[in-house]
């Protein structure tokens, strides 16, 4: 087992009593309070808030436009530009999933599929959104670029069974991804 020892920083007495950092933190809070009181808080326009403008009236107003590119929401399955279902049911995501949210039933690719060389495709692919912890390991481990985390974060269900998303739902949510995975074309 190889490991790299971490070099810990040396703290001075001033660092150790941390009062300075405490004051710095309070100053930031106070700065935002003052800005809000004079109506100049950051992202006021985006929040479209009422009153002093520091709060977002959530369900009506969404944070969506502020989500960064790397935001990790619900995982989905995607198709390539050629319409091919990218997943080959290698089950690596099922293996890596720390919450055991994914359940795959592997199967052979359908006889109508254009890419017969792929041979294997999921017969069923289920993600239990009550178990999912949005860690993104499935996306990272996927050798086929088939599973991506979307920006969807609002998942409400009235029944535990509703929280289990099947293959059809996952492909509908994932849509088509730009780019081609050429691994399974006839020349490779």
């Amino acid at each position: 087992m190889s490991y790299t020892p971490v070099k810990r920083p040396k703290f001075s007495v001033l660092d150790k009593i941390y009062i300075v950092e405490l004051v710095k933190g309070l100053a930031i809070t106070l700065k935002h309070l003052v800005l809000a009181l004079v109506g100049k808080s950051r992202s006021k326009k985006d929040f479209n808030g009422k009153g002093v403008g520091a709060c977002m009236p959530f369900p009506e107003q969404r944070w969506d436009s502020q989500l960064p590119e790397y935001y990790r929401g619900a995982p989905t399955l995607v198709r390539g530009e050629d319409g091919r279902e990218r997943c080959v049911s290698c089950q690596l995501c099922e293996f890596i999933c720390p919450a055991r949210a994914i359940k795959i039933t592997p199967g052979a690719v359908s006889p109508e599929a254009a890419c017969q060389k792929q041979e294997k495709a999921p017969a069923e692919f289920e993600i239990d959104m009550l178990r999912c912890i949005y860690c993104g390991m499935c996306q990272e481990v996927c050798p086929e670029q088939a599973i991506f985390l979307s920006k969807e974060y609002l998942i409400t269900v009235t029944d535990r069974k509703q929280a289990v998303r099947n293959k059809a739902t996952l492909y509908k949510l994932g849509g088509t991804r730009k780019g081609l995975v050429n691994k399974w074309n006839q020349y490779k």
Binding site: V88, P106, G107, Q118, E119
Partner: protein
């Protein structure tokens, strides 16, 4: 090595018929004629091999087992050998690596598996093998137990310098009823060719094409349809040969393997059951050089579907009235009812048909039940088939010897029970683990005529459908126990999955029933597990004397001389 300086290590080894070999700087002794690969593996130095299989002839074609080798310097005429302080001659290392599978050890030989030369040789071989390999691991069933995958991560370079397009060969070809071939994944080790020729004796596989177009194929007009065809899937180091049955069922890294034995014939082939979450996915042979070598027949390998089938009986079933339909019940209520019913059965008019598919422990409990009831008409159902001259025994019951030992030979065998049922002198039948309408030779009308049928079975069959009470028992994958094979070897069954539904292990049902019927013998009713029953039996039966669950081990022990041998094992021993 001797501390006496006057005896050189070479002489000391020669006295034992052995030779001294230095492996990675350490000296070991091996018998003369040991292959370098076997010698290294036996001392924990791993030598990667594709084509070498200990049970097959040596091909030496894959070159994966290249190791650096050295010998003492060849002496000039008249010169005497020089010995170091440790008594060994200096080793002169050869400039080229040798293959470890086709070369044998020699006195004062040196082998290096951790040197630069060896690792470069391995990397080079892997690079050549991967030039045309499709790298379709995500869809390959072998992924996770693939030698090419393992060796590439262990010894490969990790990059690919080959930019030309890969050779195209046949993919997903059906070469037999149970085996698929992918010629692109093949590393041409020819293990499958040698297996079919040397072990099965059917030459159906060969290599066709030249150069980079070399590929495994069936000879024209033949197909890989032998009853041993699926062993090529096991010995294929890569994903070229894959099982149609296991195709795309589950990745192997999810599966848990349990060492146990096969129950389809008297050979008692050693197997591994591969399961995940109470589901059996496949069965593979487990090496036991005294029982099945490394192989097993396809017919036995594929006979596992009933374990997770919908025909399984998951709850006790009872008929409240004679002629009424069966309905599910609870264990307590059912057993109480059975006890009441059995008390009212006259022992002379009752027969027990039990099974040689039961373990010794279960048969011990059957005997206890019979004694408690006072029933003397008790027998197993014999199953005879054809011996295939390899591994399939003519006795299709896995535990005939155990049944003979425990139930003993009593006067009224199965024919007498059959006659009794036909002429109505037997009115009550207890069928344990057997469908009496099959090999036992009874008709459905005979069962209709009976007053009472108590059946214990894991799956629905013609007997359970008409039985008054059905007790759900378990299959061989769900219980512990021991069986004695045709050659008199006692072997262990291990539990791979939990009993399905509310079913219970057979021995436990019988034990509780015997206790409820009023048995107070602590040697029967106080047994909490098959291991303890085995210890009880060890005190009573001479051949089992001194046996414990642990002492049987995974390989089993010969406990009786039956005079029966397993043809494949005899042939293998004859070759040596």
């Amino acid at each position: 090595m001797s501390n006496n300086p006057t005896i050189l290590p070479k002489d000391a080894a020669a006295a034992e018929g052995k030779v001294n070999v230095q492996i990675n700087g350490k000296w070991y002794r091996f018998p003369k004629g040991t292959r370098i690969a076997d010698a290294c593996n036996s001392v924990g130095v791993h030598v990667p091999c594709f084509c070498y299989h200990p049970k097959l002839s040596v091909a030496g074609s894959c070159r994966m087992c290249l190791v650096e080798q050295g010998m003492p310097p060849r002496l000039a005429p008249g010169a005497t050998p020089t010995y170091g302080e440790d008594g060994y001659q200096p080793i002169q290392w050869m400039p080229r690596a040798v293959i470890a599978c086709a070369n044998t050890v020699a006195e004062n030989m040196g082998i290096r598996t951790d040197s630069k030369l060896t690792s470069e040789a391995r990397r080079g071989v892997l690079e050549f093998l991967l030039t045309n390999h499709p790298l379709d691991c995500p869809i390959c069933d072998q992924a996770g137990e693939c030698k090419l995958q393992e060796y590439t991560t262990d010894y490969g370079s990790g990059t690919h310098r080959f930019t030309e397009s890969k050779t195209k060969k046949g993919k997903n070809l059906s070469i037999g009823p149970r085996v698929n071939l992918d010629q692109e994944r093949c590393v041409l080790c020819r293990r499958c060719v040698r297996f079919m020729k040397e072990i099965v004796g059917e030459e159906v596989l060969g290599v066709v094409g030249r150069g980079t177009h070399n590929a495994i194929a069936c000879y024209p007009g033949t197909s890989l349809d032998s009853n041993y065809s699926m062993n090529v899937v096991d010995i294929c180091p890569v994903g070229a040969m894959t099982s149609k049955d296991f195709r795309f069922k589950m990745r192997v890294w999810f599966l848990k393997s349990t060492p146990t034995i096969d129950v389809n014939c008297g050979t008692g082939t050693n197997i591994n059951i591969w399961t995940r979450e109470q589901q059996v996915y496949r069965i593979t042979p487990r090496q036991n050089d005294e029982v099945n070598s490394c192989w097993m027949p396809d017919s036995h390998r594929l006979n596992y579907k009933y374990i997770n089938a919908p025909e399984r009986i998951l709850t006790p079933m009872v008929k409240t009235d004679h002629g009424a339909p069966q309905r599910p019940s609870t264990w307590d209520a059912t057993l109480n009812m059975v006890v009441e019913q059995l008390h009212s059965c006259a022992p002379t008019e009752t027969a027990i048909i039990c099974s040689a598919r039961m373990t010794n422990e279960e048969l011990y409990m059957v005997r206890a039940l019979a004694r408690q009831l006072g029933v003397t008409k008790i027998d197993i159902v014999p199953r005879k088939g054809e011996n295939d001259g390899l591994l399939v025994s003519d006795d299709r019951n896995p535990n005939t010897n155990g049944a003979k030992l425990i139930l003993g030979k009593n006067g009224s065998g199965l024919p007498a029970i059959r006659r009794g049922i036909k002429n109505n002198s037997i009115r009550f039948l207890i069928a344990l683990g057997e469908d009496v309408t099959e090999e036992a030779g009874l008709e459905a009308e005979d069962l209709e005529a009976l007053d009472y049928i108590l059946a214990m079975s894991h799956s629905e069959n013609a007997t359970t459908k008409v039985a008054d009470v059905v007790l759900p028992s378990v299959t061989f994958a769900e219980k512990y126990g021991t069986m004695i094979n045709v050659a008199g070897r006692i072997q262990r069954l291990n539990k791979a999955i939990e009993p399905q539904g509310e079913s219970r292990p057979d021995w436990d049902i019988l034990r509780q029933l015997t206790e409820m019927l009023g048995c107070d013998c602590p040697r029967v009713i106080a047994c909490p597990s098959p291991m303890i029953i085995l210890e009880e039996m060890a005190q009573e039966f001479e051949p089992l004397k001194g046996l414990t669950w642990g002492s049987i081990g995974n390989g089993g022990i010969v406990i009786m001389d039956t005079g029966v041998t397993i043809p494949l094992i005899e042939r293998e021993k004859g070759k040596k």
